[in-house]
């Protein structure tokens, strides 16, 4: 029997789930189809940074909008997402790096955004007492934060389900076609809706391609390593400027280290794999910036499958080719913070056909097949 809805969302990650939630709040009937389980991939296993700091300029307005939602998200969901407000700081190891940060702050100010500020050497020490002596300053967004990605995404999905969204987990989309409405065929049934959202993450490029829209999504596997518990020494989420590093001491004392380097990702098998030689420099950077880390021990690591676009910003908005088809994918390993705001924006776009945000930088037809 064919089930019908106003909107079918393909992909139960944070973007699919939050769009489903906000669409339901607008009164739409929604079915989410997820081939694995909600939050199984990048949305559940990312480093949990809720970061506006250092974003691509095109993403800043949407990221800012999302941040406003984050501050009230746990109340709205009635759930603990492990969200805490905390500074995000990119430390500068040279004057030249600090100068680049100064230029960025001026650019943002001209755009009307004031969340990023320069920290001088004394200020960076105030926020990061354990930072190495050679650090000269930093760029900070003081009211960013971090959260538990799995708790957050599953809480959003749970709230969506309470609002009437139907989640079909363990069901794989085989194909979709449009006559008057969209028909989505899965390995377990068929569904019909007037609108379809492609929020399939690393798998979204193949889905778009099956509909004749070119989107060069690369499956990547960001890697994270976790240390045994250390005494509390850092409240902020820290990155470096000239070399890849993301660094966060969790409330329980463990330190999560990631940054840039990638393992192996395989979208056919859902598997990702650590490549430890790629983490040598990351380990060295962590010890350089926080000397206390010289005594740390790695107890665990993880990686997940994420979709990356060649220009490192997502595909967002209406299809360039099909009516009633929308895309929200390719967040290139920094989509977690944008989840709530993007979901709210996309639900509005899908429901009304319009949004206040300028999505031109995110259009799917910015890519052309060779």
């Amino acid at each position: 029997m064919t089930q019908t809805a106003d909107l079918i969302v393909i992909g139960g990650g944070i973007h699919g789930s939050s769009t489903a939630l906000y669409a339901a709040l607008r009164g739409m009937s929604v079915i989410v189809i997820e081939k694995d389980t909600v939050a199984r991939h990048a949305s559940g296993v990312n480093a949990g940074g809720v970061r506006r700091l250092g974003r691509h300029l095109a993403e800043v307005p949407l990221s800012q909008h999302s941040m406003e939602i984050w501050y009230g998200l746990q109340d709205m969901l009635g759930a603990d997402c492990g969200f805490q407000i905390a500074p995000q700081i990119k430390v500068a190891e040279t004057e030249e790096e600090l100068d680049r940060h100064r230029e960025r702050v001026q650019t943002l100010n001209r755009m009307g955004f004031y969340h990023e500020t320069i920290l001088d050497q004394a200020q960076v020490r105030h926020y990061l007492p354990a930072v190495a002596d050679h650090v000269v300053g930093g760029l900070a967004s003081l009211r960013d934060g971090f959260a538990q990605p799995f708790w957050t995404t599953t809480s959003i999905a749970r709230k969506a389900a309470q609002e009437g969204v139907v989640f079909k987990e363990g069901e794989r989309v085989l194909g979709l076609k449009r006559e008057t409405d969209w028909t989505v065929t899965t390995d377990q049934g068929t569904y019909q809706a007037t609108k379809v959202l492609n929020a399939a993450g690393a798998w979204a490029g193949a889905l778009a391609g099956s509909l004749g829209e070119y989107a060069p999504v690369e499956a990547i596997a960001p890697m994270m390593i976790v240390t045994a518990r250390l005494p509390k020494f850092c409240d902020a989420v820290v990155g470096a400027t000239g070399r890849p590093l993301s660094f966060k001491q969790m409330p329980n004392g463990t330190v999560v280290i990631g940054g840039g380097r990638r393992g192996r990702a395989d979208t056919a098998t859902n598997k990702s794999e650590m490549l430890f030689p790629e983490l040598r420099n990351t380990a060295a950077t962590a010890m350089d910036i926080f000397p206390i880390m010289r005594g740390a021990t790695i107890v665990r690591s993880w990686s997940g499958v994420e979709g990356r676009m060649p220009d490192d910003i997502p595909v967002l908005g209406a299809s360039a080719k099909h009516e009633g088809l929308y895309h929200s994918f390719g967040f290139s390993a920094h989509g977690f913070q944008m989840g709530p705001g993007t979901g709210e924006m996309m639900a509005g776009l899908i429901a009304t056909g319009a949004t206040q945000f300028d999505l031109s930088a995110f259009a799917i037809d910015r890519f052309t097949a060779e």
Partner: protein
């Protein structure tokens, strides 16, 4: 920078992980067949757990540990006489899908490529979750035996709580060493003998084991050690340090004072390496554990990966060595080498050695208290997660151990779920009324053993082209 030791090869035909009976036998056989072999082991010396410290025996210690222990010495001697490259103090902390092993040895990490990998990492003790088991002074019967084998030291005043052949063996060894346990609290439920009887005829083919078992029990009873049967409602009391153990036996509550409580519920395959490699596993309802799915020659579902010994399912030291030889022969054959011995003889010996198992498995299956611990019992010791919290996470919608892990951090501590994994899966299965195969097990992530961050910074990967 530390240079690679000249002893350490960078590429071998066969890497064997674990130098217990299975690993030693596999390594020697593969080497005899003309293959290049590296034997990697965390320990200081050959033997694994069962033959720990086997090359440094004294007549006194040999006397305590008995002839089944001493039998391991010839295996170690044959290993020493072979061309196998034996790397002690070496922990394999990751294996990637291109058969690249990441190793830590004497504080520095390097890599080794192997055409074939034999996982011979043996068994671990089944967890015995109960109230108070995280207190200081609570240990396992296996740990007491390690102490005895490694340094000839026997814990005084110990109370053994649990069931299974190893507990009786260690009790007998403690008596031989002149330091009997203070008491034995036996947890085998009533009626187990009736359940085990259908297997007795088969077990009689392995009568040597039955005779040995009965004589150990006689020795323990004869030494006057108090034995409490079919104990239930067991809890360990104390603040930070164990002070006593309380339980019910024959309808009566008992409390025994001791600050050394050793628990045991039998042994199960150590799954860490085969899970890391994502080999298929299946629940064994007789052994009450997961075991890797193997073909008749020890080959897993993952190409080039084999398992020999207790890691394939519990069979004991003798079976482990036989299986090690069989697996090595299968690899030799695949690589076009002439087999140095007959496969069918080994298979017959393996079948005969395993005859006693179904009886023991029915007799010593874990008691319900350990499969479904009481709500307030801490299950994941590293992150202090209770059985009740796991049930609540299941009620919130977590369908399996990996989702429960994401909710509660169970299995995320330094032990990586080695201790709690089976219990967490069984609690979830019970709660969801699902089978153990449906429920599954933790995904195991590297590093298998903690490594210093500074060691990762100085990691020396192979620069050679990957195979």
């Amino acid at each position: 920078m530390t240079q690679l030791s000249p002893m350490q090869p960078t590429k071998v035909d066969v890497a064997v992980i674990g130098a217990g009976p299975a690993g030693m036998a596999a390594a020697v056989t593969a080497s005899k067949a003309g293959l290049s072999v590296a034997l990697l082991d965390e320990g200081q010396s050959l033997g694994g757990q069962i033959y720990r410290n086997i090359e440094h025996g004294t007549p006194f210690r040999d006397g305590i540990l008995g002839p089944d222990y001493v039998a391991g010495r010839s295996l170690a001697e044959s290993l020493r006489a072979s061309d196998v490259t034996y790397l002690p103090r070496t922990s394999v902390w990751n294996i990637s899908t291109d058969n690249m092993l990441d190793l830590s040895r004497d504080g520095s990490s390097s890599q080794l490529i192997a055409d074939k990998i034999i996982v011979a990492t043996g068994a671990v003790e089944r967890p015995s979750p109960m109230p108070g088991w995280t207190l200081a002074g609570v240990t396992t019967v296996g740990a007491l035996q390690i102490l005895l084998k490694a340094s000839g030291v026997v814990q005084e005043d110990a109370v053994l709580v649990g069931s299974g052949p190893l507990m009786w063996l260690v009790a007998a060894q403690m008596i031989s060493a002149g330091t009997p346990p203070k008491a034995i609290v036996e947890t085998t439920p009533k009626g187990r003998m009736a359940q085990a009887m259908p297997h007795i005829l088969k077990a009689l083919k392995g009568h040597r084991y039955l005779t040995k078992g009965l004589s150990m029990m006689r020795q323990v009873r004869g030494a006057g050690v108090p034995i409490y049967n079919a104990a239930t409602d067991i809890r360990i009391n104390g603040h930070e340090i164990a002070e006593s153990v309380t339980f019910v036996s024959k309808g009566k509550e008992h409390t025994i004072r001791s600050s050394h409580i050793a628990l045991h519920q039998g042994v199960v395959p150590n799954q860490q390496v085969t899970r890391l490699l994502r080999c298929d596993h299946k629940w064994d309802a007789s052994q009450h554990c997961f075991r890797p799915v193997l073909d008749g020659q020890g080959k897993t579902s993952v190409p080039d990966v084999y398992v020999a010994g207790d890691g394939a399912g519990i069979g004991g030291a003798k079976s482990a060595a036989l299986m090690g030889r069989l697996v090595a022969l299968a690899i030799a054959q695949e690589k076009g080498k002439a087999a140095p011995e007959r496969v069918y003889r080994l298979q017959a010996a393996l079948a005969s050695d395993g005859a006693v198992r179904p009886f023991l498995e029915a007799m010593y299956a874990p008691a319900p208290q350990f499969v479904k611990p009481a709500k307030e019992t801490i299950v994941c010791r590293c992150e202090e997660v209770t059985a009740g919290a796991i049930e609540d996470a299941v009620d919130l919608g977590a369908p399996g151990p990996n989702q429960v892990k994401s909710f509660l951090r169970s299995g995320m501590g330094p032990c990586q779920g080695r201790v709690c994994g089976l219990v967490v899966s069984s609690i979830i299965a019970e709660r969801r009324k699902a089978s153990m195969d449906e429920t599954g097990y933790y995904r195991i992530r590297p590093p298998l053993k903690p490594i210093p961050l500074s060691e990762l910074a100085n990691f020396q990967p192979l620069e050679v082209a990957q195979k």
